[in-house]
Amino acid sequence: MKVKELADKLGLRAINTHKDKDVEGVYISDMVSDIITGAKANCVLITLQTHKSLIAAANLVDVAMIVFVKGKNPASDVVELATKAEIGLFVSEADTWTFARKLAELGLK
């Protein structure tokens, strides 16, 4: 599944321009040190964390897209760094559990 297709199916709000990469897995974490040991390339990262360090970690492991749950919005410098890294940023109003269930229903694991 591609980033755009996933975003459309889940009604996500895009907050930057990004590439339509393949999405091949899911990782949930709010700790940046955990992301570099757990997230895989081309995964969708679900998080509450909006700090710039998150993008530094996500870029290192080549995350395809990040979804900020509970309607959280990152600051403009965070969006700018993610755009430069070609990581799609999206916002969902759902909480982490509800959003994760939606991803599972779409067949993402």
Binding site: V32, S33, T37, K52, A56, N59, L60
Partner: protein
């Protein structure tokens, strides 16, 4: 020399705290990794240094193991990784990032001793394994991760970057080294 082309994966992943200390006499910074439930916050003298506690940050450490030949590269000497945003023309890290172009992302592997007076930093073997590991997992065309040791920075205490550590994550300002944060406040 090994003929193995190596296919690295993370091994020996440890959860703990990065404990950062500073010497109030000379301004040196030192850090170590603690897996204790409550990390130590001691103040003590060590030779000419008077170490005071600057902070504990949740962190993860890991080693790399080759699935083909079984070789393990220990990364005990690496305290963290920092995405370099340095633009100092006198810094080799900034020059490297400029030379490599927009698809390259330079990460600095931080060792325990910012002064490098003891001559130690993250091992060359560790740096090579980190470069291979992160790049072999990248799927974005044209993207390249370059990991360099912090001894390459003109001054790691002045170098600008985004440290991958769980500290200050609710702050709005970009994450910086403790010594930089003190200067920004001053």
């Amino acid at each position: 020399m090994s003929a193995c082309t190596h296919r690295w994966s993370m091994t020996n992943i440890r959860q703990g705290y990065l404990v950062v200390e500073g010497c109030f006499e000379c301004g040196a910074r030192s850090s170590f990794f603690s897996t204790e439930v409550t990390p130590p916050i001691d103040e003590y003298q060590e030779g000419k240094h008077f170490w005071i506690h600057l902070g504990n940050y949740q962190a993860v450490k890991f080693d790399l193991r080759c699935g083909l030949c079984g070789k393990t590269v220990g990364l005990d000497d690496m305290m963290g990784l920092m995405l370099s945003t340095c633009q100092d023309p006198d810094c080799e890290v900034a020059r490297l990032a400029k030379r490599e172009g927009p698809g390259a992302w330079v990460y600095v592997a931080l060792c325990a001793d910012s002064t490098h007076r003891a001559g130690r930093c993250v091992s060359q073997e560790g740096i090579e394994a980190l470069n291979q590991y992160f790049n072999e997992n990248i799927k974005a065309p044209g993207k390249k991760i370059i990991v360099v040791p912090c001894r390459m920075c003109s001054s790691i205490d002045k170098c600008r970057g985004i440290i991958i550590a769980d500290t200050g994550l609710t702050d709005l300002d970009a994450q910086v080294l403790p010594s930089q944060r003190q200067r920004q406040r001053g």
